[in-house]
């Protein structure tokens, strides 16, 4: 890739984003139409049995089910551009009305977890590097591996069993108690357990990656120079090594976005947290394709936008990235 100006690259990325979203919507649409079951049946439910043949035919025409798949897609797409994604079959109201109030909750959980995971991962990695191959490092590696391989949902259920059911310290489900939406303390107490699960099941994966990168870094010659200048070990790792690893950390953060987002889906449904992840699981259970499609599109959009932003940031803080063969869209 040639070195181009920032604005040009951003425009290129936006173009690619549109293309990617288009492809994603295509895939999701056709998958949903491949699904077994008559769309008419899911739209009308039991009413269908009492309808005459003419009424059914009229309904088919009205819903456009007699058109080809391509035509149906074009119609869906133009409606989607207006912000109309159809009706949720389970909730019997426009999909956007169902999704909108929940986005904030998921964003809160996701962003908090994301920030906490990478903040803690960096600190943990530096700590391990400073104690390389000593007892504490090994202990942290061991505990980290155990937490990483513990399925998130099980950890969540166990935590609910201990802290909500038996000790009663934290509530077991929801984002806030009824009528306490703006009560900060109440919301925080609902967030503690989900956040803990999110952090525990993602932290070590990234801490380990950063740790390994740092371990390679402390073997370079400039570390000797810094040491002979009289820098302490902490100073060397924090001020010199970590800065050199920073672009890698940003790359890892970019790649990790889908992973962490996926984590919210599981955590939300364990804690019945009203977010779009939980909604997606419900939609999949009830074969509510319109809802599922929108859910996937929103999540996909968020993931792509944030990874593009991360890439752009990366190229700004480390000009070498522009020339490197990285993941380019």
């Amino acid at each position: 890739m040639r070195i181009t100006s920032l604005s040009k690259r951003i425009i290129r990325r936006i173009g690619l984003l549109i293309l990617v979203m288009f492809i994603l919507s295509l895939v999701v649409f056709f998958l949903a139409r491949l699904a077994p079951g008559d769309p008419l049946q899911s739209f009308y439910g039991d009413q269908l049995d009492s309808m005459t043949q003419e009424e059914i035919d009229a309904a088919r025409v009205r819903l456009g089910l007699n058109d080809g798949l391509v035509q149906q897609y074009i119609r869906w797409f133009t409606n989607a551009l207006h912000g109309e994604f159809g009706i949720s079959l389970k909730h019997k109201q426009p999909v956007m009305n169902v999704v909108k109030p929940l986005i904030g909750n998921t964003l809160l959980l996701g962003v908090l977890a994301y920030a906490a995971v990478f903040g803690l991962a960096t600190v943990l990695a530096v700590f391990c590097v400073l104690h390389e191959e000593r007892f504490l490092d090994r202990l942290i590696c061991r505990i980290g591996t155990v937490f990483y391989y513990t399925p998130g949902f099980w950890l969540g259920v166990v935590l609910v069993l201990i802290f909500a059911v038996n000790l009663g310290w934290f509530p077991s489900s929801g984002a806030y108690d009824i009528g306490m939406k703006n009560d900060l303390g109440n919301r925080v107490s609902h967030l503690v357990l989900p956040l803990f699960v999110m952090i525990a099941s993602h932290l070590w994966y990234y801490a380990y990656m950063i740790r390994n990168k740092l371990l390679d870094e402390v073997r370079k010659d400039y570390v000797l120079l810094a040491k002979s200048k009289g820098c302490t070990r902490r100073q060397i790792v924090w001020k010199h090594c970590l800065r050199n690893v920073a672009p890698t950390i940003v790359s890892i953060m970019a790649i990790s976005i889908p992973h962490v987002t996926g984590g919210t889906v599981v955590v939300e449904s364990v804690f019945s947290y009203p977010g779009i992840g939980n909604l997606a699981v419900e939609a999949a259970k009830y074969h509510d394709y319109n809802l599922l499609m929108v859910d996937v599109l929103i999540t996909g959009f968020a993931v792509f936008v944030s990874s593009f932003i991360a890439q752009t940031i990366n190229e700004e803080i480390d000009p070498r990235m522009k020339e490197m063969e990285t993941i380019q869209w």
Partner: protein, 304 residues
């Protein structure tokens, strides 16, 4: 012979006469030394679990599919070793029968992952630059959708009600990382003489892949393949827990845990803790074995 010469010259002190050919005792490494650094504990525990699952009918002391209506939600006791769940099923028996499907899904899923990942990666690695970057972009597109959402779409469209379809679903969504690694490896060796030779004498794609490429990068990807066994088991149990995977009557560790929500209400810890512990221990053992296969890089000593 030697003795006679020695006798004849016995008056003299011969320098080095006491010399004996030193035959070092053959250092047969003791069992302890040979096992050092190998994941013995993990292997043994895993073996016990696998054997337990294979010989489930001999171990189980109750019918795993039977509902004991007069014994619902019993804590572990002498009759039901791991207690019973809210439906009155014996957890001890289900544990081993359920392990069968969980382990099968792990292994089959990993096989699907390996097959797809290796084929796609090799294809992309050997293709021309343009096709290669197209294939990689397509893969990144799907890789960027959170795996669980991808699975939600697939299970909503094609419900995975049995072990085989579950393995397929789990495998189809898990091969992206492997394909990327394979592609990297293939691009390193695709221009070596033996691959060029094999291709120029008319070796077909799958022939070259099987005979020349796979044996070369197999050791590099073994770790990934083994750890995909554990990720497949995790995905299956997560899905079943969410109510999107195996139904309750198809016994697996995941479908056992799908009763966890009811167990929370009844506060019956054994329904949650025991299957989960089995699951986690199995996953950790598989990971340990996988880590052993990972090539250890020799690091020089730290400059810090």
């Amino acid at each position: 012979m030697v003795e006679t010469t020695l006798e004849r010259t016995s008056d003299f002190e011969i320098v080095g006469a006491g010399w004996r050919h030193h035959e070092p005792k053959e250092q047969t490494p003791t069992l302890r030394q040979r096992l050092k650094g190998k994941p013995i504990l993990a292997a043994v525990i895993l073996l016990v679990i696998v054997l337990g699952c294979i010989f489930a009918p001999y171990i189980a002391n109750h019918d795993p599919a039977k509902y004991y209506y007069d014994a619902t939600s019993l804590a572990p006791n002498g009759e039901y070793y791991f207690g019973t769940d809210s439906l009155g099923r014996d957890l001890f028996s289900i544990m081993f029968y359920g392990g069968r499907s969980s382990l099968t899904i792990g292994v089959l899923g990993a096989a699907v992952v390996a097959l797809l990942g290796i084929t796609y990666g090799t294809l992309s690695g050997t293709a021309s630059d343009r096709v290669d970057s197209l294939l990689m972009r397509i893969m990144e597109l799907f890789g960027a959708i959170p795996g669980i959402l991808l699975i939600l779409i697939i299970t909503a469209v094609f419900p995975a009600g049995n072990v085989i379809s579950m393995s397929l679903v789990v495998g189809i969504t898990g091969w992206f990382g492997l394909a990327r690694i394979v592609r990297g490896e293939v691009r390193q060796i695709r221009n070596t003489e033996y691959v060029l030779y094999a291709r120029s004498i008319g070796g077909k794609f799958f022939y070259v892949m099987r005979r020349h490429l796979v044996p070369n990068f197999l050791s590099a990807i073994m770790f990934v393949v083994v750890s995909s066994v554990s990720s497949c088991i995790t995905t299956e149990s997560t899905l079943s827990f969410l109510g999107l995977g195996l139904p309750l009557d198809v016994l697996s560790w995941g479908s056992m845990l799908s009763l966890a929500n009811r167990a929370l209400i009844l506060n019956t810890w054994w329904v949650i803790i025991i299957p989960g512990l089995f699951l986690v221990i199995t996953l950790l053992c598989i990971t340990d074995l996988g880590n052993y296969l990972r090539k250890e890089t020799n690091r020089k000593s730290s400059n810090l």
